[in-house]
Symmetry: C2
Subunit: 301 residues, 2 copies
């Protein structure tokens, strides 16, 4: 029996958050419903950030009111402060995720607080999240910062230590601007496991410089079993002005399935969703699996 | 001191071969000259296939007459028969490369001969290539066939054995249709090293399904020190109708350099060449490094 890898669909949140084209609540719910139908079991559905700062996520409550409530499907809401946690609980998310940016300059530009101040907010959110709701931390810019350059791996480990101390159920290391390489995946995996023993690791990669899939497969080699990806490969960071965003769910599934890993998700179905999302956003999906097709079946005898 | 990786620029041949837009001899020579100026030391410059079958390569002699002859720079010509070898020698290439397709169906459609018949041609070309001219074999479709599906790794190893028996100076394993994953890179590396002990290995990846860079970095991990790539990431196979082609030289350089490997090639310069080639071909380069920029330098103090 091969190792099972959980692929978290982050398209509804990280995939859409920075898109200029407004996406209707109905289309967001369709994206989520299609993902559930394809077999996805964890979905980053919404962000409870301030509607003025992230207008694309202003309808978070309406999205959550319309998602299919299916046994075994877990919806994640992004939460950046106490008010966000209250909204998330009212909207009945299954998990809350708090983003802590590893470098002060990026943290201040992105969230208007230093990393240390955000860690205090994390402590507060983690303490007040009701029992039964998974609480995870994403450490953004773990692989590099658009303003400071190198992110010291020891700083990432220190933040992971704070995550564990407050009872994180999971720690996600994010290459927010898509600069990472596999050697960094290995170093960070080792350091964060030492800093936060027993806390499951998750990775979040962008393919901004074409290293995202190599990083994801390296994480799996290192025993990581949870990866973020976005249908069609949409998403991006306002500080990373490149044409591609998150690693694409369908392309990641192709690589995992051909590597003998099971995911429980239908690759072809996600490829169709990625293409559909391209029509919604009015631009082709960065994903390649949909255009190229799957592994050739060979001649039928 | 870090490991040195040799990146072979295959843009002038595999990058352009299937492009519908005619590229002038002058532009081909400019692509080659830019590559040499950037530090590339091995370049797949031309193909001596029949001009009727591959019209884009019909000016092979004129291209070779115009390339900069610089100490240490080695030009590779693709050769598929005895006539091609004669043309290659007259054009004063430094290396000849023979493509043998690993599956009979693809070989017959591509070169109108079975794999075994092409191996006889390889034996002949290898025997008649003058001393001092490097002779290499590329085993195409090593990772999968558009018609037969799986390519048995043992078949690739058997072909490699034939390559070694005829005195191959190098064996290149090609993922012609871009279906491979890192696990295959490891298996093939092991099998081919056993079948052709002592013959240096080289890999040729396409990024058709977004696994090309993961495969390339895995090959380097396995101790392979020679990789093909194409400026801008152009190139493709008529049997692989996807938007992307060879792995892009600039993106591969980014990944290698950030992994601590030296290549002797200037990444920014190649990124500019990739963008320039996009203007020649009238479409954006699939490469991402040029658009995204290099690793951020951080604040100057």
């Amino acid at each position: 029996m091969s190792t099972e890898v959980t692929v978290i669909e982050v398209g509804p949140r990280d995939g859409l958050q920075n898109e200029q084209t407004p996406v209707s609540t109905e289309d967001k719910i369709e994206l989520i419903s299609r993902s559930v139908a394809a077999g996805v079991r964890r979905i980053e559905a919404v962000s409870f950030s301030h509607p003025r700062l992230v207008p694309q996520m202003a309808d978070a409550e309406a999205v959550m009111a319309g998602v299919p409530r299916v046994e075994g499907v877990s919806y994640i809401g992004l939460v950046l402060n106490r008010r966000g946690l209250d909204r998330a609980m009212a909207a009945e998310v299954d998990e809350v995720n708090v983003v802590v940016v590893a470098t002060d300059t990026f943290s201040t530009k992105n969230q208007n607080v230093t990393t240390d101040r955000m860690l205090e907010t994390w402590d507060e959110i983690a303490a007040e999240t009701p029992a039964g709701i998974r609480r995870s931390m994403t450490i953004a810019a773990s692989f590099g910062c658009p303003f400071e350059g190198e992110t010291p791996p020891e700083r990432v480990a220190e933040i992971a230590r704070r995550a564990a101390a407050a009872g994180a159920d999971e720690i996600a290391l994010a290459d927010t601007i898509g600069v990472g390489v596999p050697a960094q995946v290995r170093t960070l995996t080792r350091l964060v496991r030492e800093a936060a023993p027993g806390v499951p690791l998750r990775f979040h990669f962008h393919n901004t410089r074409n290293t995202g899939y190599a990083n994801a497969l390296t994480a799996v080699e290192e025993g990581v079993t949870v990866l973020d990806a976005s249908a069609g490969g949409f998403g991006g960071c306002p500080f990373a002005p490149a044409a591609t965003g998150n690693i694409a769910t369908e392309d990641l599934l192709y690589a995992l399935h051909r590597s003998g890993k099971t995911t429980g998700i239908d690759e072809e179905s996600v490829a169709e969703t990625g293409a559909w999302l391209g029509t919604v956003l009015g631009k082709p999906a960065p994903a390649l699996r949909g255009r190229a097709g799957g592994f050739p079946q060979g001649r039928t005898s």
